[in-house]
């Protein structure tokens, strides 16, 4: 870090694969997956807008501690967030993570328009 402290680095595994990618605690999981050497397991997480709005990179965190930034509620509701669903482009690891893709697709949900 800029103040000299170490940025913690964790491993993120997809679909129970034996190995995963490294992801800093300040790095979005989706960025780590995209930048790594191509691997079919990593490619299981889709890439869309990379900015929390489109739902393409929806995943479920099976194991591990993490934080998330603001995600469109059309793709991860508060209930789902509590169950471990997240958008990988808004997901920052706080420990090693195991994730699996949870993309819903275009008919997956009704867009809730707020007033």
């Amino acid at each position: 870090m800029a103040d000299g402290t170490e940025r913690r680095r964790f491993s993120v595994r997809v679909n129970g694969a034996p190995s995963g990618v490294h992801c800093d605690e300040t790095q979005k999981v989706l960025t780590a997956l995209e930048h790594a050497f191509p691997d079919p397991d990593l490619r299981a997480v889709r890439v869309g807008c990379r900015q929390g709005g489109c739902g393409a990179c929806r995943v479920k965190v099976i194991k591990g501690e993490y934080t998330t930034a603001k995600m469109s509620r059309a793709h991860v509701t508060e209930e789902e967030e509590a169950e471990g669903f997240a958008l990988a482009c808004r997901l920052y690891p706080q420990s090693d993570l195991e994730i699996e893709p949870a993309f819903l697709g275009p008919r997956g949900r009704q867009q809730k328009q707020d007033n």
């Binding site: 889709r46 890439v47 869309g48 807008c49 990379r50 900015q51 929390g52 709005g53 489109c54 393409a56 603001k70 995600m71 469109s72 509620r73 059309a74 275009p106 008919r107 867009q111 809730k112 328009q113 707020d114």
Partner: protein
């Protein structure tokens, strides 16, 4: 060509997840001018080369996407006449009072068959920051960021594109320079009220009311390259490009705002006239139609929307 009735796209109101990040993106990066933030939290922006008060409105919300897209008319008479025709066609029309957006007159609104809200209005104050008109310089201050001149058009995704085409062409007097027809029906339509290759476009999609992209006009291919430099420098999420569209011939980059709304910067595009035959693309050539150099669609084009 004499233009009467609807003139051009006037206002796009979009939903953003974080207002501060969005202001940085649209003002500092894309190059729009900040006009005002109002008491309800909405932020108003304008391209440096636009005459009227604002063209982009940001509203912070829990989801991304587009609230409405509005066309500016040459007079209130035109709006009133379109209102009659829209109601005769069978759509409900509601009134938005003057002042609901600052410096803006009354608007009418209706929802088209694809699930999108479209509005028409005649009056908006001239901007304090409008282009000069007396022996004008080309700009007062040198353009910044990606140097967007104006909000140019949007591409909307939703069902019932045939009905949307019928409505825009027979009721609102748009003409249709270009389309993509697949064996199972029309996939996409580009329509205009002006000389531009398009002022609005639609792609057939199961979910109603979706935004594919909101586009900003740049000067030329050099400025497109400069915009790409800005995107990398500030780690802006890039979708496709720099490239060219076969459809409209515009040169382009698709990228995403901090809420996942897709933006476009583009230049060029052919000049469209009502008496030109329609350009038609088919399922064998749609790759080149959308991405002229790549000659294939990417997965995101048909699926990533907000």
């Amino acid at each position: 060509m004499s233009q009467e009735g609807l003139l051009r796209p006037g206002i796009a109101q979009i939903r953003v997840l974080d207002m501060e990040e969005s202001i940085t993106h649209y003002v500092d990066r894309i190059g729009l001018n900040f006009v005002s933030k109002e008491a309800d939290g909405r932020v108003y922006l304008k391209g440096y080369d636009e005459f009227h008060r604002h063209s982009i409105v940001l509203r912070e919300a829990d989801t991304a996407g587009i609230d409405f897209f509005a066309f500016k008319a040459d007079s209130q008479d035109s709006v009133d006449q379109y209102r009659k025709r829209i109601e005769e066609y069978g759509l409900d029309v509601d009134d938005v009072p003057a002042g609901e957006q600052p410096g803006t007159g009354g608007r009418i609104g209706f929802t088209v068959a694809s699930g999108h809200r479209i509005e028409l209005y005649a009056d908006m104050d001239l901007s304090d920051d409008a282009p000069e008109t007396h022996s004008p310089f080309i700009w007062r201050e040198e353009p910044h960021g990606m140097r967007a001149q104006r909000m140019d058009h949007c591409l909307l995704y939703g069902p019932n594109i045939d009905k949307v085409e019928e409505f825009f062409t027979t009721v609102l007097d748009f003409h249709l320079p270009e389309r993509v027809d697949l064996p199972d029906g029309t996939l996409a339509i580009w329509m205009t009220v002006s000389n531009k290759a398009h002022d609005i476009a639609f792609v057939k999609h199961d979910e109603p009311g979706k935004l594919h992209h909101l586009a900003f006009f740049l000067e030329d291919w050099n400025e497109i390259g400069h915009a790409a430099d800005v995107m990398t420098r500030y780690d802006i999420s890039r979708d496709v490009g720099p490239t060219r569209h076969g459809i409209t011939r515009g040169q382009t980059i698709y990228f995403f705002d901090p809420s996942g709304n897709r933006n476009e910067v583009f230049c060029g595009g052919y000049t469209a006239y009502k008496d030109h035959p329609v350009r038609v693309w088919d399922h064998n050539t749609v790759g080149r139609g959308i991405f002229y150099y790549e000659r294939q669609l990417n997965e995101a084009f048909l699926s990533v929307v907000t």
